[in-house]
Symmetry: C2
Subunit: 362 residues, 2 copies
């Protein structure tokens, strides 16, 4: 079977998003025939030896790439980070207890809403007063809450924690949009969770990396589907896992290890974001929307100071093969997502378009 390929699009989509080309090629091959088995990755049993190996490799790669302590556990579940918002209080909030949160935007709000359904949510700080364009600082995490939760990178508004908070209670972080983009000291966290569809793989799986010693302290009687300890005890196979998404996660993490792991990707990401933010700051037509010190290296948000110029700008970047830089429907403007697999070349195409546009409209 001959397969047509055509890949000239520069995909800046905020997620699901670009993955490495070699991952698409290996994944397509496996859909037809997994490793010469005569079976598609879509039809093999999740209890088969080949898939058990895939699952174990994916789990091990998460720990290896992030340098997680031996005792930490990894599971992949369906449902997205939105299911994670629900699982956090189920697994960490005592009956009648409370969780502390920082409100940095849409996803933090959804996480807080889930905590309120389960008990009490203490919002320690919020940047809602300023359209979430900065990361709140200077608050104290109380010692009498059951856990502390923050969103490490905020895809919609383009802010990111530069220093990751530590606390006197179990720290939980939704790292959906910057996991595997930079080093993390995993032992500072009771739980890190992340929807796969940014730096890890396609939509359809969410990764939970946690310290098993932090679990089982709530007094809650949990459904086995809501119980992270149960999923870990069953090696992430309590029920049929999302087989293909986990397979693509494995391929993507293998790619990341192959290019040099977190140390290398951190450099590449800094170069990409540096180029784009420098361009935004240098050209008077454009303006970044996030506070400079909190700018996300994953999602660069900016506007045209003169909104009337948008149609002309849109025409230009579309003609250059750029896709997905329109801002989130809730905020407008522009957002260029610079996830791990996006090449520097694509950023250069964008900044060239911006320079060109500035010259024409200078």
């Amino acid at each position: 079977m001959a397969i047509e390929t055509q890949m000239k699009v520069h995909n800046f989509s905020a997620g699901p998003c670009i993955l490495p080309r070699e991952v698409f090629e290996k994944a397509a091959q496996a859909v037809l025939d997994l490793d010469g088995s005569g079976l598609s990755i879509l039809e093999i049993s999740h209890r088969s030896k080949p898939f058990i190996e895939v699952m174990e490799k994916a789990r091990a790669l998460v720990k290896e790439l992030l340098g997680a302590p031996e005792r930490y556990q990894v599971v992949f579940l369906g449902g997205g980070a939105s299911m994670g918002f629900h699982l956090v209080p189920q697994n960490f909030m005592k009956t009648g207890g409370r969780g502390a949160y920082v409100n940095t935007g849409t996803w933090a709000k959804r996480a807080i809403a889930e905590a309120k359904l389960a008990g009490e949510a203490v919002v320690l700080a919020s940047s809602e007063d300023s359209n979430f364009n900065y990361i709140p600082k200077g608050y104290t995490i109380p010692a009498d809450v059951d856990y502390f939760h923050f969103t490490s990178n905020n895809t919609i508004v383009g802010t990111q924690y530069k220093a990751l908070p530590k606390g006197p209670v179990p720290v939980v972080s939704d790292m959906s949009s910057d996991i595997f983009s930079r080093p993390v000291n995993v032992s500072d966290f009771a739980l890190i969770y992340a929807g796969a569809q940014k730096n890890m793989g396609p939509a359809g799986a969410t990764m939970y990396l946690f310290d098993p010693e932090a679990l089982g302290k709530t007094g809650r009687k949990l459904s086995p589907m809501m119980d992270l300890a149960n999923h870990a005890a069953k090696d992430s196979m309590y029920n049929t896992p999302p087989v293909f998404p986990v397979y693509v996660i494995m391929l993507t993490l293998e790619w990341l290890r192959g290019i040099g792991g977190i140390a290398e990707i951190e450099k590449r990401n800094a170069a990409k974001a540096g180029l784009l933010y420098d361009t935004i700051d240098r050209l008077p037509l454009f303006e970044g929307t996030a506070a400079k010190e909190d700018r996300s290296l994953m999602n660069a948000t900016f506007v045209l100071k003169d909104k009337n110029l948008e149609p002309a700008f849109d025409e230009l970047w579309k003609a250059a093969g750029i896709s997905g830089i329109r801002g989130h429907r809730s905020v407008g403007g522009y957002r260029a997502s610079l996830y791990n697999a996006l090449p520097l070349e694509s950023v250069r195409v964008l900044t060239d378009v911006m320079e060109d546009f500035a010259k024409r409209n200078g």
Copy 2:
């Protein structure tokens, strides 16, 4: 890119399981380039026009193929039918209320356990006394429960309801392993749910088809992730859906419509199961394990009367390219799963092996 194909395996796996060859080919193509867009199905935004069309088509095909009434809603969520077990009492059991169940095996038990966590589960009938080898009959569904739940096909033990129960209360059915294999009168049901990985697609998505008028009556304050009405109101896009699994579901349902829909597949399935059960019954070496009147057309379970012959039989079917007919680890013996996409030819290879084996060991 040239892709190697090799497809001589007869895949009788109980799920994930065989899908049509043309689905694998179209899915592999879309992983490289979706409809000439220059983008992989794995990297497109779920808010993009192409994916919104996929989602709408998949939802519409479910209703069309099953002849569902206009007002019924379809959503695709992550988490498998095991998440469905949890969602059923959340959406149908009143606070302090109760649900009625029939216990027909492992999956029914898990559904019952979830109801017990949410409130009270009334087990109306059970075939546990006989290793679940029959479908209980002759019970009455009480009018004072919140809903009635049954598992239409039991993959592990190979039993299947021939007449689908109706009741004086909302009827809910886990049809994971026989959805789209035969006609169903959808309006008899408040909710039909099914993990995709049998007749619908790959692992990673679960379909919920429901009457919205049956929802919102429990008094429970639900997480938006647990609330079927919320997911329906957001067109199955409240959060990022499992994009690729939904795409493959769409392809599989298009294939089913193309071959003639439920009417045609019902005939094919009857022919396949007829051939296999006839062979089991005719050859004295073999014995079916489910009560004849309740035999599943999807999963035929059988044993060798002389267990000592198993290694010799195993050698023979493996040599014929047959895969996945070992029984579930909890019951042993053999199980040939005959899902929609399995060709009659594969069943013939198996029955030829059985005939051959019988001659050698007659």
